[in-house]
Symmetry: C2
Subunit: 219 residues, 2 copies
Amino acid sequence: MAKAATHKPEAGGEASAPASNRATRAAERRNAIVEAAMEEFIARGFAATRLDDIAKRAGVAKGTIYLHFKDKESMFEELVRTVIVPVVARLNALPPPTGSVRDLIETFAGNFLKEVIGTRRGDLVRLIVAEGPRFPSVADFYYREVVSRGMAGMRALIELGIARGEIREKDLARYPQILIAPAMIAVIWQSLFARHAPLDAQDMLRVHLDLIFGERSTT
Amino acid sequence: MAKAATHKPEAGGEASAPASNRATRAAERRNAIVEAAMEEFIARGFAATRLDDIAKRAGVAKGTIYLHFKDKESMFEELVRTVIVPVVARLNALPPPTGSVRDLIETFAGNFLKEVIGTRRGDLVRLIVAEGPRFPSVADFYYREVVSRGMAGMRALIELGIARGEIREKDLARYPQILIAPAMIAVIWQSLFARHAPLDAQDMLRVHLDLIFGERSTT
DNA sequence: CATATATGACTGACTAGTCAGTCATAGTCA
DNA sequence: TGACTATGACTGACTAGTCAGTCATATATG
């Protein structure tokens, strides 16, 4: 077997802190499991992912997973929650509503570009689209926490833009989806077609905003 | 055995034709398998779908599937091809380019609405998004046959619209994705969130076209 | 040393793919 | 035309392998 060095206790400095505290160690383990599970689920989808692989990647025995999660399904559900909650929290900490609506939305788009499109988080979005129909609780959660809030925020911005005369199309407030659609397409594009036709998401989003706000006088 | 009525020869009127011909029957069988497989794959995803269920739904023994397909994977791949090819063929038979560009695109959107959004075909698109990363050959095929062609067609229409002065935003021709994005979002929305917040896709697409072409003087 | 935590070999349910055998139909012959 | 044979489409019980979840044992902690 030569499995003597199962988890290399001598190299125990993964975290800078000694982490001798039980609760801390447990939290670290749970974290490692969540991260490993995320990788595996993204790469293979829910059904095709093996718990053995997650355990191996997390540097943990399979049984350990069951100390933290009831079963594979609830692990998947909790995983999505765990990863998404901090994102929502950050979105709630909106930047101060100063400057033009276009600037606000451009800032938002820039963040989205950097933190979602083409990243692990983007892959998670694709995963939710993929598994949503078979995990209504995940789809529900995602709708409640991300979609409905995001839509409400966007709608408010659009209405502000209309009130200030920055946006012409008044009906746009009824469909914030139109504002977000190209960003979502960019997320999906990156994981499916980037190999064939790389997409300059930043430029595309700029063109889309030009479409909504009219072209910038100076850039 | 009591298997006397294996496939109800007396009720053999599935197709209007007698279909006594062997080749015809085989084609019918294959068709039934493809249809059943489509339902199952859409409902459960590739990995979670059981061939036993496909066979049962198709009214066929499991072994019969292997007379038509090499294995589960190639069945999935051929299934996607089989379903998509006629769609592409129909798209190639474009309507005559008469009337305004807006009318052309509106007609296209109407067809898309009726034949894709909220239908089995829409679910297939979601399935491709879901399984694409694990089936590069499927993603490749879909890109080659549908995405790149669709994009080229849209780009041509956009350029025509710009030349005729119907479309202001010149850069739009570089990103036909922007034109299509809301339609794709509608497809995904229907399968994930329609329960929570039904989406009037037709109205949304209208608003989107207003955004691109400017509001209609009279509707 | 008593308790909490972690391990991984093990079990049993499940399923992709196989193949020996069946039987409806097509083809042949008188 | 009617009977007899050849064909191969079709069947479904079976095999070999996989993997989620368990639990007796080992290890770390306080």
